[in-house]
Symmetry: C2
Subunit: 350 residues, 2 copies
């Protein structure tokens, strides 16, 4: 039989952070697509009534200040509230419910609705990162988990193009970080080193999945990536466990690599590249303390839905929902395509 | 403080089949929606070149027979192939890949492109079920897992409205059934009864999540449902572990309940209701034998994306991808709304 070629022959890959497999079927890229297409992300005309604008009145009746940098306020339709009664104790092991307390905030990145991370200056992105650290510091004192995430683009359920993210803090440790906590701990007990540090070391030697790198961070397509152009940002130096551990250099460098990665994303399909992104670090809460989670390494994750163009996404549906995630190009191919994208934003070239 | 009301107060619920939690935030239904809307599922004009039609020539050059009931053929762009070289052994615990063999088939439900399950007769649906059993019998002899699934509607990545499903058989046990296998086994060891039998017993007493029921099956919104109108079909009598264990009565009754449930789905938002659905039963393969998996109970799962109307779906994005699934109405509310839907298809009433 032929020799195995990862870019031609299907195989499964293991994600040690989540104890899950992904089916890689690169030969499937040949499949023609005649199904649903999405509206291309377009520049929307500025809406003078946009409730996220400085000075605007929101649906709650509250008025935003004339902010000039970032601005954080409570989500007017929060999925998590602080003061709600607890459910009664569960009577049956198959009908278990549990209390969930929390708070949801919205954070504007910039006063200008037409801005996005790749178009903002490094200083402006640095202001966002500094505010993330503040938020994590404050909410992390009380809550076990503080999820910072950005849904970008209408295709990702984002209903307002104004540059913003959300912060949902909860009294419980959600599924995704709970599994990552367990897997990293098991690895640490077995190998006496943080999993992601070992992973990073190998990736820096292999280089084939690295998209970009600067003094403090590397952006790579994980070996086990599920979404076509999924990436992960990992810190190269030190072992920051949470965003609150970052040094000044790491913060500025993070702003730089976020800008660079997002320029490449936008250039890939010449559109404002949609995604959900967020940060995962060691759990927080009243008993958490710096350095208490040596099995963790802080990282950011970008999960973009597009597969073939600005209008054709990857559908994670029947097989993926009921059986296992499946991808149509290899992580190495995705990394190469992103590497080859220009470092100057296509809009800046006009 | 107030008394806890599940329809008003956020809480988390545990899914014992998957060892996962879901955040239930029913107060969030009040949130207005100004984000992306989907094209309403519409009747598409019949396409005389549709490659799934009887007598049509497909992109592979193969010609379909003049079939009059169901018709199964190999997927022309399969994600899984039978003869591919194996990847070399993994050298590092963080870079593990493994061989994946398999086969992908497409199964037409009916010769008429305008048909869907709720519009087909019970006998026609029974023919589909009988063919599923045949397929499972044949492919299950060789493969560890045979995933039967239907992606219905363009919103679910379905590129052809002709009524059809897919069958992907693999040499590996995919993530979802692997976790269900583990969780059901652990429960069986602990309680000496199949988890889903215990679950079913309770649900038949409580009734609040039951949508419909007939002599052999019940359709209910699971206590831990993630998608707004997610449902599960469970067999009431006996303990079928796989589709191949079904009696003639169970098969006919399944056809009936599938039709009834789908009529309610279509009536909910007056559209051809999109979803991904599929069956989960005990794993198969050369060493599997009837009755060898007493911890399993065969079930079907429907995962529909719509939340508010034919055009507004639930976005499973940032928080859901990075932290935990979140739902905006309780499973009991969803069950009630479905129960209240008419039993006669809205199109049949014209
Ligand atoms: O029906 P198709 O064209 O094979 O493909 C569809 O279902 C597959 C299995 O769930 C997914 O992997 C694809 O993303 C989706 O478009
Ligand atoms: O940005 P919004 O309107 O709060 O909501 C969006 O993000 C939330 C968190 O990922 C999701 O639960 C919603 O389905 C989505 O529409």
């Amino acid at each position: 039989m032929q020799e195995f070629k990862p870019t031609e022959h299907q195989h499964v890959r293991y994600n040690p952070l989540k104890d899950e497999w992904v089916l890689v079927s690169p030969h499937r890229c040949l499949r023609p697509w005649s199904g649903q297409t999405e509206a291309a992300p377009e520049d929307q005309p500025p809406d003078p009534l946009n409730p996220l604008l400085p000075g605007a009145t929101r649906s709650s009746g509250q008025r935003n200040p004339a902010y000039t940098s970032t601005y954080v306020f409570p989500n007017d339709f929060p999925a998590l509230l602080e003061r709600v009664p607890d459910p009664p104790p569960s009577e049956h092991p198959l009908f278990r419910s549990s209390a969930a307390k929390g708070t949801c905030r919205v954070m504007c990145f910039h006063p200008d609705s037409t801005m996005t991370i790749p178009l903002m200056t490094v200083d402006e992105i640095l202001a966002v990162i500094n505010e993330w650290v503040n938020q994590l510091q404050e909410l992390g004192r009380k809550y076990t988990w503080v999820q910072i995430f950005e849904n970008k683009g209408a295709i990702m359920g984002c209903s307002n193009p104004h540059p913003h993210c959300q912060i949902w803090a909860s009294s419980y440790l959600p599924n995704e970080p709970r599994v990552k906590e367990r897997c990293q701990k098991e690895y640490f007990i077995k190998f006496k080193r943080p999993m992601l540090l070992d992973y990073l070391k190998e990736e820096m030697i292999k280089k084939e999945r690295v998209v970009i790198q600067n003094a403090e961070w590397v952006a790579l397509v994980p070996y086990w990536a599920v979404w076509p152009y999924e990436t992960m940002l990992l810190p190269i130096n030190g072992r920051p466990q949470r965003m609150t551990d970052l040094t000044e250099e790491q913060k500025r460098s993070l702003a730089e690599i976020m800008k660079q990665l997002n320029i490449k994303y936008d250039n890939l399909f010449k559109c404002s590249f949609p995604y959900s992104m967020g940060f995962h670090g060691a759990p927080t809460g009243p008993s958490a303390a710096p350095g208490d989670s040596p099995h963790w390494l802080l990282h950011a994750i970008y999960l973009p839905p597009l597969l073939r163009s600005a209008t054709v996404k990857k559908f994670m549906v029947g097989y993926e929902m009921l059986a296992q995630s499946q991808r149509d190009l290899t992580p190495e191919q995705a990394a190469q395509r992103l590497r080859e994208c220009d470092d100057v934003h296509y809009k800046a070239k006009k």
